[in-house]
């Protein structure tokens, strides 16, 4: 059986753990198979969980989150016959598939959409903890926004420095209000449970928000401009489906492969004008064609625009 390990945020984090869960459930529904799932309780359990699952014969073992990288590098060689899939991190081992997403590309599109949907010319970004991964989102978003609206204003907030930063909808709402009071009328939230508060407050304040990781358009129909969807669910689904035949190596999930995308559905249809849809499409094509390169914050820890 395959197995799935969720990172510390837990499987209902409204973010990528939940997406992974959804992918696994879809596989289960379609194939009628069973899988083993584990939620991390503490840092020390990572290795324990990996080893126990490997010993129990789970294959492949999928895990979400860069925090597993270190441990997986240590554990994978001990179980050469087991396949491991790690999401959001590259681990170079012969039996590991590393799935990474080009969040900067999806966020670029979100920036384009925000730029065009904004009437005021000011948009916002609200991140959870100030960590490199979230800067990747921020930087892609900023690039898309500035490319579309060079004179526009971008307001950036991070919620905190403790794990509470991911679970503080009250603070998320307040940050949104602060950004709105500075003129922002489209705000992109990459902040887990805090983002729920951002989307809510945006809906209340009558401004647009952009969801993240999963499709969050349905949370406030007609008020969420779009969501930057990371295809974690698909990756998990694919891995489960491939079973023991998962292909090792780095799998880059980018725009081209549909790994990242903007969610379009009935909920946000009224918000996406032809102009916006066109611009998003154009940008997506340009990126796929290599005409636009979206700078990856992780490459050099800096962002060309701010």
């Amino acid at each position: 059986d395959p197995a799935l390990i969720f990172d510390l945020g837990g499987k209902f984090d409204k973010s990528f753990n939940e997406a992974a869960y959804n992918g696994a459930e879809r596989w289960k529904a379609e194939t009628g198979g069973t899988y083993k799932e584990l939620e991390m309780q503490s840092e020390a359990q990572r290795e324990q969980a990996l080893r126990r699952l490997a010993q129990a014969g789970a294959n492949p073992i999928v895990m979400t989150g860069f925090a597993f990288g270190e441990v997986l590098g240590k554990v994978a060689p001990d179980y050469p016959d087991t396949k491991f899939v790690i999401i959001d991190m590259v681990v170079e081992q012969p039996n590991v598939q590393s799935v990474v997403f080009t969040e900067e590309q999806g966020s670029y599109l979100a920036g384009v959409a925000a730029a065009l949907a904004s009437k005021s010319g000011t948009v916002g970004f609200i991140g959870g903890m100030d960590i490199p991964l979230i800067h990747k989102f921020e930087c892609g978003y900023a690039q898309g926004f500035k490319a579309t609206r060079p004179d526009g204003q971008l307001i950036i907030n991070y919620t905190g420095t403790t794990p509470a930063a991911w679970n503080d909808p009250v603070k998320g709402g307040e940050l949104l209000k602060a950004q709105v009071s500075q003129g922002a009328d489209v705000v992109y939230a990459a902040a887990g449970g805090t983002g729920i508060g951002v989307l809510q407050a945006a809906a209340d304040a009558g401004v647009l928000s952009i969801g993240v990781d999963s499709n969050q358009n349905h949370l406030h129909p007609g008020k969420v401009l779009t969501s930057m969807v990371k295809g974690v669910d698909n990756s998990v689904y694919d891995a489960f489906k491939a079973g023991a035949d998962v292909e090792p190596g780095v799998k880059v999930m980018d725009l081209a492969s549909g790994g990242v995308s903007l969610a379009m559905d009935d909920n946000n249809k009224p918000l996406i004008s032809g102009e916006i849809a066109g611009a998003i499409d154009a940008a997506a094509k340009a990126i796929q064609a290599g005409e636009i390169t979206v700078h990856d914050y992780m490459a050099d820890n800096s962002c060309p625009v701010r």
């Binding site: 309780q41 503490s42 840092e43 290795e47 270190e70 959001d88 903890m129 100030d130 960590i131 403790t162």
Partner: protein, 364 residues
């Protein structure tokens, strides 16, 4: 003459309280539609049923011993140190800086140096609140809470901007060199020819923690400083009469307390993760409060309470890992254990006392 025999007070009362807490937990498990017997089996099996489980239980217990001792030492001086979380986090920074700064040839050299680094950083993080309390009267409860947040911010900054290897996604320091890896208890057992607790994080720091218990016991009850700490904690006016300086005791007690909390990093950062990650403390600082209070601020009590919490933590982890019971159940069980053994203990003690008094009267 006491109301009841000492053994009844220190053994019987907590055991009955514990039984009550577990009984209530069982009801709760029933209420959420699971089997208490099954859960109990998983917990006990997972935490104590194998050398493997022990390897985790002891690892968690080690963390809690350090933070529990930290709270206990401050408590003896009448200070409530809620800052274990921040101090332990800073201790982690101390360990990382020491280990990464020099090419250590052997762990036996790196361990003492890292311990000093951890203790110094932890102590430093307690120093400011201590000094402010003694000199400016700023309540140590507030300042240590604030310093927890400040430590988190500082660590966030240092890990993301300074210690993170280039190109790494993970807000964590580089991995520590292999030479500085501490011997795991399993490796030590293997050296003695025993196959014990393979691949578990318990490491030599456990002995450091036990030694710390002993040292704290000596400090508090067998040194002049300990005598003065206790005197000051029990009666500040009497301490003045005896020429005991409030500033000196407050600062020293908090330094020792902070250093103990900081030392936890030897276990989790150096012994387990072998690098510094964000939020490495994982709330052990707060559990230390419960451990100290339940252990009645005595090192032996702290040791036992830490083992109990290590057991619950590991057993609960297993429960969440291998059954469909959510991990929060174990938080509730922990809460009930704290409540019954620590706060509702008189609910058991009072009737017991009456019972023993009645028995005695009949016997007399």
């Amino acid at each position: 003459m006491e109301r009841m025999p000492k053994w009844a007070d220190v053994i019987l009362t907590p055991l009955i309280s514990l039984a009550l807490a577990f009984a209530l937990s069982a009801l709760l498990i029933l209420a959420i539609g699971e089997s208490p017997a099954e859960a109990l089996k998983v917990v006990v099996q997972g935490a104590l049923g194998s050398s493997y489980g022990w390897g985790f239980t002891l690892y968690y217990a080690t963390n809690f011993i350090f933070t529990g001792l930290a709270v206990a030492v401050a408590y003896h001086a009448g200070l409530f140190n809620i800052g274990g979380e921040g101090q332990a986090a800073m201790g982690g920074l101390g360990v990382a800086l020491v280990v990464l700064a020099l090419p250590w040839p052997h762990w036996a050299l790196a361990l003492p140096a890292a311990a000093v680094g951890a203790a110094l950083m932890g102590a430093l993080w307690a120093l400011v609140p201590a000094w402010l309390q003694a000199r400016r009267g700023s309540h140590v409860v507030i300042t240590t809470i604030m310093f927890n947040f400040i430590a988190a911010a500082l660590l966030n900054y240092v890990l993301v901007n300074l210690l993170r290897p280039v190109g790494s996604m993970d807000p964590a320091s580089a991995s520590f060199p292999a030479a500085t890896h501490l011997p795991k208890l399993s490796e030590m057992a293997l050296a003695l020819g025993v196959d014990w607790g393979r691949n578990t994080p318990a490491n030599i720091s456990f002995f450091v923690a036990v030694a710390a218990c002993l040292l704290v016991w000596l400090l508090i009850w067998h040194t002049r400083l300990g005598y003065e700490i206790r005197a000051f904690g029990k009666s500040a006016t009497a301490a003045r009469y005896a020429g005991i300086s409030a500033l000196r005791i407050t600062v020293l007690a908090m330094l020792v307390s902070g250093a103990l909390a900081g030392l936890m990093a030897v276990n989790n950062v150096m012994g387990e993760a072998e690098r510094l990650v964000l939020n490495a403390v994982e709330g052990a600082g707060f559990i230390g409060i419960a451990v100290a209070l339940m252990g009645r601020n005595h090192p032996l009590g702290v040791l036992l309470a830490a083992l109990l919490f290590g057991f619950l933590y590991q057993g609960g982890g297993e429960l969440a890992l291998w059954t469909s019971i959510p991990r929060e159940l174990i938080v509730v069980i922990q809460a009930l254990v704290i409540l019954f053994t620590g706060a509702l203990d008189n609910m058991v003690r009072m009737p017991l006392e009456r019972l023993f008094m009645a028995l005695r009267r009949k016997g007399a």
